[in-house]
Structures are given as C-alpha cells and as structure tokens.
C-alpha cells in the first residue's frame, strides 16, 4: 500500500501517452512500455505530485460511485516497487 498522504508522481524518465493503435493509455520509459487498462490510465493521469493518494482515491471514487482508495493505494504500491512511481515529498 502506498501511504494515503503520499503525493505520487511518475518517474522522471516516464511519460504517459495515449496509443491510438492499441486504443489505450501506455506508460513509456527507457527500454519499456506498460500497457494500461482504463482505470490504471486514469490513476496515473492524476499522479502529478500534488494530489495525495487519498485525493486520487476520492476523485475516482466520486466518478465511479465506489470507495476505490484502497485499490488505488495498492495499485500505486506495485508501480512504486517497479520504480515507475515515486512520492514527490
């Protein structure tokens, strides 16, 4: 779990793009590309280093009428483990 007070941002080397060929967002970084599903793409698009994990959970929760904060924190933890996301603080 990424702490709810952390302010996730993408690795300095990574860039989020929309790929019209695969019709989904992709996270691009040196020597790699991660194909994202819709929700994964939405989470990463909000990782701007100013929003907290809680903010992102709340924002998507409102959109989907569900409590997704725990899922968001778990998803981000996986990306932190792979060094694709960092805590901006």
């Amino acid at each position: 779990m990424m702490p709810l007070t952390a302010r996730p941002r993408l690795w300095r080397l990574a860039r989020l793009e929309f790929d019209p060929v695969r019709n989904r967002r992709v996270l691009l970084y040196p020597e790699g590309a991660m194909l994202l599903n819709d929700t994964g793409g939405e989470v990463l698009a909000l990782c701007d280093g100013t929003r907290t994990v809680a903010d992102i959970g709340a924002e998507l929760g409102t959109k989907y009428h569900a409590d997704v904060t725990v899922d968001v924190a778990a998803y981000l933890a996986q990306l932190v483990e792979r060094e694709l996301v960092h805590d901006a603080q």
Binding site: V21, L28, Y29, P30, E83
Partner: protein, 382 residues
C-alpha cells in the same frame, strides 16, 4: 511454414549510420559496415518512423555507429517525437556540443544513453582506440544540463570487469538516472574478439555481490540493470520476446531485421524499406516469418517445457556457432553443441592459472579493407 500471426511491435532500433569515430573491439555492429553513401535520407527515415508508429511501435532507439555523425539527427528526433514515440539517443557522446544538446532537447528527445568504456581512463581509451574520456564527461554534463532522462551504458568484459565497483561509482557521480551494465554479447566485432573479451568465472563471481549491493544502495536514485553473460549460464537468454514478436531493427541502408545480429544468419534474406513498406516486411516477409511461432524448432527444443520461456534462445548465436539457425542455442545444457561454448570457456579457464597479459584486440574499423577479418591486429598493452 511458421504457424503464428504477427503481433504488434513495441520497439524500433534505428541504426542510422555505421560511421563512428571509436574503434571498440566489442562492437556488436556487423563486420560488413554500411558506407555513408548507402544510408537512408532524412525523408526516408522520417517515413519509416511514421510507419513504425502506425504499426504500434512505442519506443525508438536512435543508434549506430555514432548517431551524432548524422547532421539531421535533430530533425529525426523532432519527427519521431511528433509521431508520439519515446525517443532514446544511444551515443558514445562524441560530437555532442552544447548547441546540439539544446537543439535535441527542443526537438523533444526523451532519453540519452551514453556509453563509457571503463572507470579507468587509460584502459577506457585503450578499448575505445581513441582519446575520448574528456569528451564523454563533457557530454554527460550536457545531458544533465538539458535535464532529460540520462543513462550510462558500460559493456563488460575481461579487461574492465575487475573495476565494476568503480564503474558503478562513476555512473553515480555523473548523475545517471539509470546504469546498464551489459556483459558483452558475441556478435559482429565482438565475435572476432571473443577470446580477448571473455571474462573468467572468478571475475564474474567477484562482480556479482558488488552489483547486488549497489542495486540495493542506489534504489530510487539510479536504476541498475545487470545483463548476465550467457556463456556461463545453463540455459540460454530468451530471444527478445521471440523472433518477430515485438522488436525491429533497421540498419543504415534500410535493411529491416528481427535482431541487430540477424544479418549474420546468411541463410536468410532480409528486405529493405526502400523496396517494401514496413508493414509488409513485419507481417509477410520471409525473414520475419522464418522463426515466428515454434514450428521451425528441432529437438531438444521442440518437446522442451521451456520453449515458451526462452524460445530456444538466440537464433543468431545458434547459426553463428552451429551453422544452422534452427538448432537450440548452444548455450543450453541440453544442446548437443554445448561443447562449443565449453571450449570457448576453456580458453579463459587456463588464463586463471597463468599470468594474465593485456589481450590483443582486433579493432573495429570502416572499409575499405581487404576483407574485414584481415584488419591489422593491433596489439595493445606493452
């Protein structure tokens, strides 16, 4: 016939020139280097990048030879970035002026990877065959200054592996975001120099804990990728996702390959973007279809459980060492040709018990040459 439908490629390595001011004996470029007048034009490369993106390619490596020798590099980068490609410049650093660094940044380069030969200046320049360290240090400072992602690459071999700790510290002090420590793969010029480059088992054993500790120590600051040498393994390295599944290499003259070493498989022919669309080459050309899927496999691969993991290893290495690209990669302990690898290793096993002298390298050089193999053997060291 091959049984698998082509997938969507992710990565294009564009070797935009074979020209290079350095002479690394480990260079993976082919012996038969393309001349300047055979290179694709600016417009041809730009068309290829557009076609690659339409095919699904996300990652573009601009490599060579030395890509900075192309005066149109900035226009190529600009075009690639506009097409939406994540663009990496793979360079020796020579030829990067402040002006060019700024223009590359403005064109939208995402990532610059600079190769260094060693942490020790004398050995580094002996391997490069050129006074080059100061220029590389200046290039690294420029990449830091323009603020794009920065990787350091060091090819490892018997002559520098003992300094792996110093090499890691050097990359950290240069401010690298990422460090690629790549044990030499024996293609092109490196295959000519295999005996001189092959590390000893003792060197590799000593390096491992140093690398492991550094990976942990630099976590979050500098990502360290350690590419193991396959000769000392029991099983081969996986061919990048399998032949013709994700990876495309295009040579200076527009020849399209499933792997940068594939021209060495002389039993295959490959097409060029001058004659065909990239889409056709990817989907239909005989060269790309040759080893898609696993219908082509022989024993021991055909009935091996690992065939979906390593795809039988490297086709190029299988051809180079056994003469038939359909054989299992001879690195595999199940291969009847494994003795070829063990014989190569025996050369260095003997070294461990004798006095190690500075090896004699055959330096990479451009034509005209009588034949590439007859290049003057330059003895190094005293």
């Amino acid at each position: 016939m091959p049984n698998e439908k082509p997938g969507v490629p992710t990565t294009l390595l564009a070797e935009i020139t074979h020209r290079c001011p350095l002479h690394c004996p480990y260079c993976s470029n082919p012996l038969d280097l393309a001349r300047a007048d055979a290179e694709l034009s600016t417009g041809e490369w730009q068309r290829v990048f557009t076609e690659a993106r339409a095919l699904g390619v996300l990652q573009l490596g601009l490599s060579g030879g030395e890509p900075l020798l192309r005066k149109d590099l900035e226009s190529l980068v600009g075009h690639a970035r506009q097409a939406g490609l994540y663009t990496t410049l793979v360079t020796s650093g020579l030829g990067l002026t402040r002006d060019r660094a700024l223009r590359l940044r403005d064109a939208g380069i995402d990532h610059v990877q600079i190769s260094f030969q060693d942490a020790d200046r004398t050995t580094a320049e002996r391997i490069a065959g050129l006074t080059s360290v100061d220029k590389k240090l200046a290039a690294a400072a420029l990449v830091r200054e323009i603020g794009v992602a920065f990787s350091v690459n060091v090819v490892l071999h018997r002559g520098n592996l003992d300094r792996i700790g110093e090499i890691i510290e050097m990359a950290a002090s240069l401010g690298a975001d990422r460090l690629e420590l790549a044990n030499t793969q024996y293609y092109g010029w490196a295959s000519l120099n295999r005996d001189a480059l092959m590390p000893t088992r003792a060197q590799l054993a000593a390096a491992e804990p140093i690398v492991d500790a550094a990976v942990a120590r630099y976590r979050g600051r500098m990502q360290i990728i350690y590419v193991l040498p396959d000769y000392y393994s029991e099983f081969p390295k996986a061919c990048y996702g399998g032949w013709g599944t994700v990876y495309i290499v295009i040579g200076p003259n527009g020849i399209v390959l499933p792997c940068h070493a594939a021209t060495q498989i002389t039993s295959l022919t490959f097409d060029t973007v001058r004659d065909h669309s990239l889409d056709w080459i990817w989907r239909e050309s005989p060269g790309f279809r040759a080893f898609r899927g696993d219908d082509w496999m022989r024993e021991p691969c055909r009935t091996c459980a690992l065939k979906t993991v390593d795809f039988g290893g490297c086709r190029c290495q299988a051809f180079l060492l056994t003469g038939d690209a359909r054989n299992a990669d001879p690195v595999c302990s199940k291969s009847p040709n494994r003795h070829l690898i063990d014989e190569a290793l025996a050369v260095v096993t003997d070294l461990e018990t004798t006095i190690v002298t500075a090896p004699a390298y055959t330096y990479r050089a451009m034509p005209p040459t009588p034949t590439a193999g007859q290049r003057a053997k330059a003895a190094v060291g005293d």
